[in-house]
């Protein structure tokens, strides 16, 4: 990591100064082709940021493997073992390490950093909105907070489950020794890592005036901070594509003997469907950002109406990614909780087939619904009806997911440990999130609700209330296998209630504000909204406190928590058959699977 940073910084600085010099001649100044011209400033910044990322990857040794393969001197077994961190201590977490368990822990820490940073920004946002008048931060800082909070959380949530658990747990769950492409695995993490300083640099470059949706042409008009945003997205798209290919190939090709598709744990299925959905979806976001970058540097006119382009092109490209992307986030969260429920209720997962149909149906339909985000855009009002139809129909496979979970709960005796509590929270939150989604998908209602705080409350209920709760449940569930310790119970329960109760106060208050007519992404608002906004802010502080307690619980338990037995929950999936620390190749002997992992239950009379 040290060498990576040094080489990355060198690459970035060299690129920056070369381009600055290039754009600094007096001749250029007189002809408007220098750094006072925003386009050339953007070129300099964008190239420097990519140089940082590339340099970091070179410095950390990401390309050694492919380079050696290219020159015909592939890595030896010993070198591969070294790359996998064999026998090395904690330093392997700071290096380019191909062991999927190391990558899983790296992702876990990364997710915590991203969610912590996003959460801090959320506290700032809610503090500013506690009273009218925008007394805490001025609009330009507020708008940047909103945009950067959004993108940080979106990135954090996309990887929240498939990152830590998709990497650490999933290969063990399917009985494999590692992932299909261990080097790509490490690459996906370190590529993502390079995006973090790039995104943070937006704060020093004037922030971003757009939300995370970065609509054009506002994004074209924006200051240098926008370059940090678009470079982050392009880097992140690379990381996601690599990770998606890796996870999909692993699950398809490396399942243990006897693990036919109907014996694959539901979390594995959910994660695979999620990343398989991401692979076609994210490239359109990347393309949209590349075009934004071109508009900002070469004055192309993709989104400039005066040059024959259109902001609607951006909106379509963005939402073709944007809608599948929320299901990329949601599906692993629900799948993790579906993994947890049978264990804690000691009943089979109700209707495994319906669960798969639900996930697959959602994923399939999700690519057909994107323009429900554009009902009010005026782009093509004649398509509002068709998109309303496809969007409403997504509630059918989503309903199946509910049926699977409540069917699993039915007539069971739940063991109310932290992972199980998250199942109940998810049911309540996804219920409200899903139903309000149905309201929003109705075109006439959307005439009122679009662009109001109602929308913000809806998507926080689904993305945070369901998906993030799923991630917390997954963390509490798999913590013993990833760290060898039990997560501190009193603290985790305290954090659960502070978060969930605070969450209801925060976002029910926000539904109020939206119904009253408060637009979204506003730094300031009329007196009539003061009541609902204050209520929301109080809820937010409770959520913040809950997450701080959870942070303490994670750190404390990791260092000195109760040592965990091999299978503390009595679960039947393969990851609970390996000890901690998990051996490098996971299993001494390749396991043979003889039944599905939900073989609970006495026979029904």
């Amino acid at each position: 990591m040290g060498t990576g940073t040094i080489v990355g910084v060198i690459f970035a600085l060299v690129t920056y100064y070369v381009l600055r010099h290039h754009y600094s001649s007096p001749w250029r100044h007189n002809h408007g082709m220098d750094l006072t011209n925003t386009h050339f400033e953007n070129v300099t910044l964008i190239c420097s940021m990519f140089a940082w990322s590339l340099g970091f990857l070179v410095g950390i040794g990401a390309f050694i493997g492919p380079f050696r393969w290219l020159i015909g001197k592939d890595l030896t077994d010993e070198e591969n073992l070294y790359l996998a961190g064999d026998g090395q201590g904690i330093s392997r977490y700071f290096r380019y390490c191909t062991d999927h368990k190391v990558v899983g822990i790296q992702y876990l820490v990364g997710v915590m950093i991203l969610l912590g940073s996003g959460g801090t920004m959320a506290m700032m946002i809610r503090t500013n909105l506690a009273t009218p008048g925008s007394h805490f931060v001025t609009p330009i800082v507020y708008n940047s907070l909103v945009g950067l909070h959004g993108i940080t959380m979106i990135i954090g949530l996309i990887i929240a489950l498939t990152g830590p658990f998709g990497n650490f747990i999933m290969p063990i769950m399917i009985g494999a020794a590692d992932m299909a492409f261990p080097r790509l695995n490490a690459l996906s993490w370190w590529v993502l890592f390079t995006a973090i300083p790039v995104l943070s640099s937006a704060w020093f470059l004037g922030g971003i005036p757009t939300g995370w949706t970065a609509y054009a042409p506002l994004s074209t008009q924006a200051g240098p901070g926008m370059d940090a945003f678009l470079v982050t997205i392009i880097i992140f798209a690379v990381s996601t594509a690599v990770a998606g290919a890796n996870i999909t190939t692993t699950v398809v090709a490396m399942r243990a003997k006897g693990m036919s598709w109907n014996r694959v744990p539901i979390f594995v299925i959910g994660s695979t469907i999620s990343v398989a959905l991401a692979v076609p979806a994210f490239p359109t976001f990347m393309a949209a950002m590349v075009q934004t970058g071109l508009d900002r540097t070469l004055t192309t006119g993709f989104y400039n109406a005066q040059q024959g382009g259109s902001g609607w092109l951006y909106a379509n490209l963005f939402w073709i990614m944007g809608h599948p992307e929320v299901y990329v986030i949601l599906i692993p969260g629900v799948a993790a909780l579906m993994e947890i429920a049978p264990v804690f209720v000691r009943k089979p997962l109700f209707s495994f087939g319906a669960a798969i149909a639900g996930f697959a149906g959602i994923a399939g339909l999700s690519v057909l619904v994107w323009a429900h985000h554009m009902y009010m855009a005026g782009w093509m009002p004649s398509l509002n009806g068709p998109f309303m139809i496809t969007t409403e129909f997504i509630s059918v496979p989503t309903g199946l997911l509910f049926l699977v979970v409540i069917g699993t709960l039915w007539r069971g005796k739940p063991w109310l440990k932290m992972p199980m509590l998250c199942v109940y929270a998810m049911l309540w939150n996804l219920l409200i999130g899903g139903i309000t989604g149905i309201f929003l998908s109705d075109v006439p209602a959307d005439n009122y609700l679009h662009g109001s705080m109602f929308v913000t409350a809806h998507f926080h209920y689904t993305l945070m209330g369901a998906a993030l709760t799923g991630a917390i449940g997954g963390l509490a569930y798999w913590f013993p296998k990833m760290t060898g310790r039990m997560l501190n119970e009193p603290a985790s329960y305290a954090s659960f209630w502070f978060i969930q109760i605070g969450f209801q106060v925060l976002f029910l208050g926000m539904f109020m504000a939206g119904a009253e007519g408060q637009p979204r992404r506003v730094a300031d608002y009329a007196q009539v909204f003061a009541h609902s906004d204050l209520v929301s802010t109080v809820g937010a502080y409770s959520v913040g406190l809950g997450f701080i307690i959870l942070l303490w619980a994670v750190i404390h338990s990791w260092r000195s928590g109760k040592v965990a037995p091999m299978n503390p929950w009595g679960a039947k999936t393969l990851e609970w058959t390996v000890p901690y620390p998990v051996p490098l190749v996971n299993f001494d002997e390749a396991p043979v699977v003889k039944s599905d992992p939900y073989g609970y239950g006495r026979k029904v009379e």
Partner: protein, 249 residues
């Protein structure tokens, strides 16, 4: 064991306290960067005047300026505007980080008395061009619907020869009286650059009547964010140059 439990509780309390401290620190940092220290001017009340509705109002006076460079505006630090050279460290202390951006100055936050007849004078020195929206070349919201340009009353100016506008408009309504004033400012013949004497410029005077207490904002509607989309990026998208606040107390 009690000792371990005590340590655990201490650890929890320390973590919570440290986290809250970090959040507070971030908050203080952001608040500090939020341009709340905008140079502020309060209107001076001198006597009374009868308004067009026949009522008598306290007569308040306030003045401000617009300059083609931030150093002359003096809104971003005080410098000797005649001797400081662009690009020098001395200039960096008073250009707000953007030596080429035009700016209102010396004040960007105006404080006006409520229910008063306010007469505002702007001395403006920048070059200009065309507005994006010609409507803002009309004088709106002033007494008589006109402004006085170098001694001549006009209801509008040429929308292709505007240097900036003073557009005072609504914050979220329903809890304060609406207030909307738009005065376009004609371009100067010579541009204003740092380190050189000011061009002749123009003097524009106009009056309007304030309502009750409230918080308002003003921004310029002339797109002077050069090389950015529709000219509304760069300087236009930052606080304290071409946008500010008006507080009616």
């Amino acid at each position: 064991m009690p000792a371990t439990k005590g340590k655990t509780v201490v650890g929890l309390v320390v973590t919570v306290t440290l986290s809250v401290a970090v959040l507070a620190g971030v908050g203080v940092l952001l608040h500090g960067h939020s341009y709340y220290n905008a140079p502020t001017e309060s209107a001076t009340v001198k006597g009374t005047i009868v308004g067009p509705d026949g009522k008598t109002y306290p007569h308040a006076f306030i003045s401000d300026g617009i300059f083609g460079d931030p150093i002359d505006s003096q809104a971003h630090g005080k410098c000797n505007t005649l001797t400081v050279q662009e690009g020098t460290p001395a200039a960096a202390a008073c250009d707000g980080g953007h030596p080429t951006w035009p700016s209102y100055g010396p004040y960007t936050h105006l404080v006006l008395p409520a229910h008063a007849y306010v007469t505002m004078t702007l001395h403006v020195y920048d070059s200009g061009g065309s507005l994006n929206v010609p409507y803002y070349a009309s004088v709106v919201g002033t007494i008589g619907g006109t402004a006085n340009y170098d001694g001549v009353d006009k209801a509008s100016i040429d929308p292709t020869a505007v240097q900036h506008t003073f557009t005072l408009h609504g914050v979220p309504t329903s809890s304060q009286d609406p207030l909307f004033v738009n005065v376009p400012l004609p371009q100067s013949d010579d541009a204003d650059a740092a380190g050189s004497p000011l061009p002749k410029g123009h003097t524009v005077t106009f009056s309007f009547i304030t309502g009750g207490k409230g918080n308002y904002v003003w921004n310029c509607e002339y797109p002077c964010g050069d090389t950015s989309y529709q000219g509304f990026g760069a300087v236009m998208g930052s606080t304290g140059f071409m946008s500010g606040k008006v507080t009616v107390i």
